[in-house]
């Protein structure tokens, strides 16, 4: 529970943070809410030599209505995402799912940008934003680039984020009244999902993504295509794992995880297609 020794520097702005991680290179890690990185460091599974703390960069904490989408600052705490009036109105799936991240303490410290940048396939918000067709704004020494969620995640805890880049904003399309469902299957409320499903549908359009069903968050494209082709929910859900690559762990075998994904995709879609009810 004592991390290896490290240097600590605090950045006052996103630009300063970009400069600092550029200076220290691969040995540096950005520290936001600290609820993904610090546990790894305490177990000595991660030993960065420099921590660049961006936790006090206030201008990265916001939720803004940008017309066709909602812009969420990377340092917005889960609790603020959960309670945001703008998100509750325009992207209720994201607000709802944020309420299931960890426990209240985690939600008061952890940030949406930190959770996504960490690229843990077992985290909720990467898959939720993936299902919603979000894109992420990455700021680097040469400026910003905008990467669709579907192109961001590359493997377990890895993404296209360069060592000298900072994820500064999450852009989420408005849901336009789409029905939605979110299923998070856990042994305990505070746990990572054994399997999670975020889903929405509006007419022939839909978005379905899976938590903890592979080395990255998984977009269940086959389910979405089937729904677009007019398949029923029960049949479409049978395709839940077509893009997935589930692994076994202490809580679930591959077979059980596969089974759960199908059941939970079906349930999430049933909720999404049930008019006028929210979970």
């Amino acid at each position: 529970m004592i991390p290896a020794a490290f240097e600590y520097v605090r950045a006052g702005s996103a630009a300063e943070a970009v400069g600092l991680v550029g200076e220290f290179g691969e040995d540096a890690k950005l520290l936001a809410g600290g609820h993904s990185l610090l546990p790894l460091m305490k177990l000595r599974l991660a030993s960065p030599s420099v921590l660049v703390d961006i936790g006090r960069v206030r201008d990265l904490s916001y939720v803004r209505d940008e017309g066709d989408h909602v812009a969420v600052g990377a340092l917005t705490r889960h609790m603020d995402v959960q309670l945001s009036g703008v998100l509750l109105e325009h992207v209720p799936l994201l607000a709802y799912a944020a309420g299931f991240v960890g426990d209240p303490q985690v939600r008061h410290r952890g940030t949406i940008g930190g959770s996504i940048a960490h690229a843990d396939p077992a985290s909720d918000l990467p898959a939720v934003t993936l299902a919603l067709g979000a894109s992420y704004v990455l700021q680097g020494p040469l400026g910003v680039r905008v990467v669709p969620a579907a192109e961001f995640f590359k493997g377990f805890l890895t993404s296209v984020l360069e060592p000298d880049e900072v994820l500064v904003e999450v852009r989420v399309p408005k849901m336009g009244g789409a029905g939605w469902g979110f299923e998070k299957f856990t042994r305990r409320a505070q746990d990572w999902a054994m399997v999670g499903v975020a889903a929405w549908c509006r007419g022939s359009e839909s978005g379905v993504a899976l938590v903890n069903m592979g080395s990255t968050p998984v977009l269940a494209s086959s389910v979405m295509v089937a729904l677009g082709d007019g398949a029923g929910v029960v049949d479409a859900a049978e395709l839940a794992v077509a893009e997935a690559d589930p692994q076994a762990d202490l809580n679930a075998s591959v077979e059980y995880r596969t089974h759960l994904a199908k059941v939970l995709v079906r349930r999430a879609l049933q909720t999404a297609q049930t008019p006028h009810t929210k979970p």
């Binding site: 426990d103 042994r187 202490l250 809580n251 059941v263």
Partner: protein, 808 residues
Amino acid sequence: MTVTEQAPSTDPVSGATVGRVIGQRLLRREDPALLTGEAKFTNDLAIPGALRLALVRSPYAHARILSIDTSAAVAMPGVVAVYTATDLASLWAAPMPCAWAVTADMKNPAHYPLTSTKACYVGDGVACVLATSEAAARDAAEAVQVEYEPLDAVVDPEAALRDEVVIHDELGTNKSYTWDLKVEGHPGQVDEAFAAAAYTVSERYVQQRLLPMAMEPRAVAAVPQPFGGDITLYSSTQVPHILKVMTAITLGIPEQQVRVIAPAVGGGFGSKLDVYAEELLCVALSRKHGVPVRWNEERTENAHATVHGRAQVQHIELAADASGKLTAVRVRLIGDMGAYLQLVTPGIPILGAFLYAGVYDLPQAYDFSCTGVFTTMTPTDAYRGAGRPEATYAIERSMDAMAAKVGVDPMELRRRNYIGKEQYPYTAFSGLTYDSGDHLAAAEMAAEMADYPGVRARQVTQNVAGAPKRLGIGVSSYFEMCGLAPSRVLASLNYSAGGWESATVRVLPTNKIQVVTGTSPHGQGHETSWSMIVADKMGVSPEDVVVLHSDTAIAPLGLDTYGSRSLPVGGVAIAMACDKVIDKARKIAAHQMECAEEDLDFADGSFSVKGTPERAMPFAAIAFEAFTAHNLPDGLEPNLEAQVTYDPPNFSWPFGTHICVVEVDTETGQVEVLKYVAVDDCGVQVNPLIVEGQVHGGVIQGLSQALFEEAVYDTDGNLKTTTLAEYLVPAACDVPSLTLGHTVTPSPTNQLGVKGVGEAGTIGATPAVMNAVVDALSGLGVTNVQMPASPHNVWRTLQSVSAEGGSR
């Protein structure tokens, strides 16, 4: 002046006399300091100049140690010394203690704080570092280079008995002992009963390993005193007195030079009822270096280095006559000892040996045998209930199996078998006397609170073919068998110590009262409860009573806190010491009021002359007279103080019935507890609020074994559940609200009528939950679910019965 001659009424909840301090729901006086962080735990103590200890632990379950290179570690900043077992061999006068040789031929490998030639579990200490800071010590521990030759792990206790891989070469076998308890009215009665039985069941249950997970991991600080070689050992322990004796013996230090203090202790659940390597290392190295040495356990280290619990394979067979009445019980147990025998490791299964007939009226036809076996995993030892939850689980699960065989409702089968209220005191098959009980009353109260018939009716409509959620209800009736213990009974079990407890009650000049107890609380609220007992006896306010404990210099006599013994042994000792003080005070009162002792009544803190209550003398005045000693009876010593050592005549026998209602999602395997009813009878309740707290914690811990917790090892002997992310201790939102009820059957063996309650919830809960889970799925052909009944385990069970075509 009031004289209360009218018959006192009894409070229906606590069983205590109305108007007395005993029976009131007083808030715990311990809590403000604990809740505000003011309480000091061992690792909070400021100890100037202390060196920090860190252990180098084996990453292998079973490996020969080929070489150890400490040179890099020694060279690191802040490092004072690095030691291997060889370096420290001369410091030990004896191996680490096992105080319970259950059989004369029990095999017990020599176990030292550091192992020298072989590591026998992941976490076994192979070297240690002393450094000026904890970070420096831990960094250096990582730099110690140990060359191992890995050997095959032994993680299946049944396979271990085949001795294909022998862990302790010098023993030549993995079997530690076999302990038998066969009781028959006439030779052959058990076999005859099974041959003649109308119904038999034969069940196999696996008690998974559990991690005790006290909220405070262990911590130790050994502080040499300025003069004469004395040493003070601070430890997060349940057993400062036992630790003092064992430290003296193991290190060859004269006992009078060792003082053990347990500061605030954040829970133990039995895991701190032990003598650990780190305690002995801190003492030995602080003496060697002449400076304080301290050690603090990390959570992951705690998972490896603190004893585990349960870990048994149980085979139980029941025989019953045509009415379902039990006629014989046969049990074959395999107890997984882990790699070594810790303080009471081999005795844990034996503590349950008398309870495999549960609360049922069984003839003398009982055949129990337990084999203890070594494996390459962390040693097991006491964990809340220690043998009794396992026994209760086996009998209560197999009673449900028997009910299915007989074709009667599980509650009805229990009714036919309960020991009747009129049979008490009841001499059991084993020769033990159960002091009091009314099992039927507790069961009927629980059934009513759980709406048992209503749930059974709902099952008929809900549990139809294809139902996505099935309803189940489970019952468990239990004995706690606690108040450890009559010393002579412990002697008959080959336990090395007695079971008495000591108390001193001392009246200070201003009528404040000091109580010195040999119990050692670590969350139980003894300061509150003991002050209530004294207040009740002496007619003072609880605030006027201070309770001193957990320091062997202040409370030199004691046998500490475990096995729900503190109240029925230690609390009763305090009441008896109060009686002695009152008797002495009576002599002074009689002398000063010029009357005979027998003419005095003592009530509400005042002595008064019978028939003339206006002639009275308050206790406070007598206390001051005893202090000044100006006018005492001839030959009477000054001061009011009494010491009592109480050896209980019997165990105490709390009992009760728990009922659990669950709904099982047959698609996902998820179990949801809809209702949990616990009716417990712990005799008279000193403080019902504390009783409820104990039942809450106990039930959740038992439910947690049923649904959440498991120490998982892989086949290489690696513990996979080493953090609270993998080892699933539930949080408040993950467990149901509990519905509690109580019956009160005062213990006839002690003056307070108390029985103890620390383990009752844990003992009752696990089988109640699992019976409910199996009941929910019984219509699908399920007869057993392996604990914990995780979604995965439930799903797998459903898959296997549907593959077998078991649906009906």
